[in-house]
Amino acid sequence: MTFPEETNTVPAVEMQDIVLRFPGVLANDHVNFTLYPGEIHALLGENGAGKSTLMNVLTGLYKPQSGEIRIHGKKVSFNSPRDAIANGIGMVHQHFMLVENQTVTENILIGLDTPRFALNLKKYDQEISNLAEQFGIHIDPTAKIWQLSVGEQQRVEILKILYRGANILIMDEPTAVLAPQEADELIETLKGMAAQGKSIAFISHKLNEVKHVADKLTVLRRGRATAERVDLQDFTRESLASLMVGREVIFNLHKCEQTAGREVLRLEDVSALNNKNLPALRKVDLALHEGEILGIAGVAGNGQSELVEVITGLRPCTGRIWLEGKDIANKPPSFSINQGLAHIPEDRIGVGSAPNLSLTSNIIMKRYDQQPVSQKWQLDYVAADSLADGLKTEYDIQAPSVQTQARKLSGGNLQKLILARELSSTPRMVVAMQPTRGLDVGAIESVQQLLLNQREQGCAILLVSEDLDELLSLSDRIAVMYEGQIVGVLCSEDFDITQIGLMMTGTLPEELPEKAQAEEAPTDGTPSSFDEVLDNLHNYEESTQAKRPAEIEPSSESAEPIEALPQPESSATPEDLPLNLTEKERVLRKVLGENYKQGDEE
């Protein structure tokens, strides 16, 4: 690896002590970020760790409350993305901003001052072609956007920035939308651009890819940098994982000891495509038992949504899914509902409720066909209202009446409404996805307790969550998903957050360091470097040949807990929520202790 001589070169970007506070959350807490010309600097972190937020500060989208930004040694203050572009900073977002039925050239020229009126497309086609060639990007400037693959569209976005004279490029999880082949190509392109002096900030949550692309690394967690501008060699895989994932305070929940009963759900060889028709699930095998909570851990977008949709009948798949002995794969959702499958969907508003309909209408969504709500062809709204009223009291849903529209409920109350609907039907099995995301502390605890109560009653629960602490405290077993596969299943006595973190970022359990082995028997005295491990892993993935167990220094790193207290106010948070809301609520709870009453956010 080659680095520019740091002492002689002026950094392209210097961000110092950046503090960015959103109402109620601290998105960036005194973060430093330095990027030298010709360097690829990776920003690693979980969803909501503040990576994108930090980069949005650099592109002028957000203005930090304090901190300094210097571009090529010159202090700057951006008021808008326009200012950033003028300073040669461009960002490729995860979601492309392209006009589908215009050509590549036209898209690149959009919004520029020249050409002013007459458009000599041929001339610009040539220009763009030359530019692309210079950076080894293959693209036909005359192609229409809709004809291009996602990877090619991304190249257009990159060209768009380069054409505007950017020498500092920010890539926001660029490989998230790409097929592996395309990702490799992209990484080659980025390296080529770096070699020509461009500086690249690379946002990612995948350890593997960071290793292949980056020279330097900064790790963010909950808004703070847990590692700043470090060399990759200096860190073990585990220590990076723990820097990324960290340890959190755990709730005191009442969870009784019990052994799982007979099998309720079994997945055999289940594969499915995602919305972009790329493989999202690859031959998943899974079993779930009575009175057991099986947690699914994984970084968002590794197939969890598809797994849930496949089980609940919302997505076609191959393979078999047995629920109570009946194959429910590719059956309509009503089939599995009748088999006693309850589903707490990830998207409460978009999927879990009908926002403009009343509480009652939302409660009876899955039992409008059953007594006493239905009488032959009729719907007995009186009976429905009294049912809803009962559940409203039982589940403590705060609302003026059962006639209230669902959209008027706060997040926590809406989730309670959904839980009331799903759990009151005494399901055999519950699929819960992100059941506590975005809720306040009180709601989190009651939702979690409700799930535990179901477990006690012998219900089988599949709990998908991005909140590792939630998984650790609720689950009997945890299965880790990575790129559409279950890479390992751990039992509660073996829960180890570092291990889970590693598996979440793509390490197979066979390659995980045995704690004992690493401590007692270092094979040749020199622990393998992080690079080697990653190379091994890469080889493993490519050839699926024999595994080479690697020994790694056990991690002694543990991330510091967050200190800063967010303001205890609840109001609109920006769309790009930089911190997990749960974090805010945890802090609140810690601060207020027993005095904290379950508030009704509005």
């Binding site: 109402p23 609940t312 919302l314 309509p332 959702p333 009503s334 089939f335 509902i337 009748n338 589903h343 969907p345 998207d347 978009g350 999927v351 879990g352 409720s353 009908a354 926002p355 403009n356 309909l357 209408s361 009876i364 969504m365 899955k366 409008y368 066909d369 239905s374 062809w377 009729q378 719907l379 709204y381 529209q405 959209r407 008027k408 109001s571 609109a572």
Partner: protein
Amino acid sequence: MKIPYPVLLKRTEDSPKWLPVVTSVGAVLLAFIISGVILAVTGADPFKVYSYLFKASFGSWGAFSDVVVKATPLLLIGLGCSLAFRMRLWNIGAEGQFFVGAFMASAVVMVPLVNLDTTPRWAIISLMAALGMLGGSLYAFIAGFLKAKLNINEIIITLMLNYIAVLWNNYWIFGKWSESGFQMTKTFPKSAWLPRLADYAKQVPAFSGMTLHLGILFGLIAAVIVYLIIYRSKWGYKITLIGDNPRAARYAGINITANTILVFMVSGALAGLAGMTEVSGVVHRLQERISTSYGFSGVIVAWLAKLNPFAVIVVSILFGALLVASREIQPSGISFLIQGITLFLVISSDVFLKYEIKWVRPAQETAQ
């Protein structure tokens, strides 16, 4: 939602129950005012025109009977549209479904499917009504099926199907069923006529000359049925749920494909029945101009009535009155002008229902 104006549209959580009525009535009044201004600009005295319009439609029982006759197809079509629109299915093919319904009903007489001399009148009429509904629903099935299975835009399909239906009708009245070369069929025998008030002039002299026919009863019964479907039935619940959030409906195990097709077919059946009442109750033959854009006015009626079946009755009578009045004044376009402006204003007035309109105070922009 932010809008780059100094006016902030804030989604309201509570709009009072009376507000939709007020905005609708207000929109109609405003439409009359604007039309009045246009009339004044063209040199007419709006007050005179309006009072004449009113007299022409509500001035006598005879005039009112004409209004109800015009309102009948609007009522049936408006009800069908209300049902479809509840599910956010934009069936604007009522015109075509109307024509196919009229065609099927006429077939009973023209083929003929039954012996017109011996079959009792009620049986012939029932058969015509049944076939009219079947025709309309099968025609709507095409659009419903394409929408449900292939997700093809139903607006385009239903719109195009309208032209096909009209041309199909023309084929028969210009060709096979043509009455000695005119673009119409022969007059139906009396046994295929819907009973009219005028038929009972002997018993009740006041009914003499009144064209009001049994079709309005079909319309009123249909209004009650649609009301029961929407507000009292399981199916109505499903329709409302799909309309509000199809993803939630799918998640709740409701078959969206089947319901899309079904709602389209019921909507089409009502339009088809409207076609039957026109040929059997008014013109007594199949001819080219049996509809004065009833299919499209029905869309407006449904929308004006906020998809409430009983409000559809009121609105269709208002529109019937405009249609009757348009015969009486020149140019007859004035009525359509008022219709158009009314629809425009009613749709715009929805803003008042969904949003609170405020002048921006920066502090409020974030508080939500």
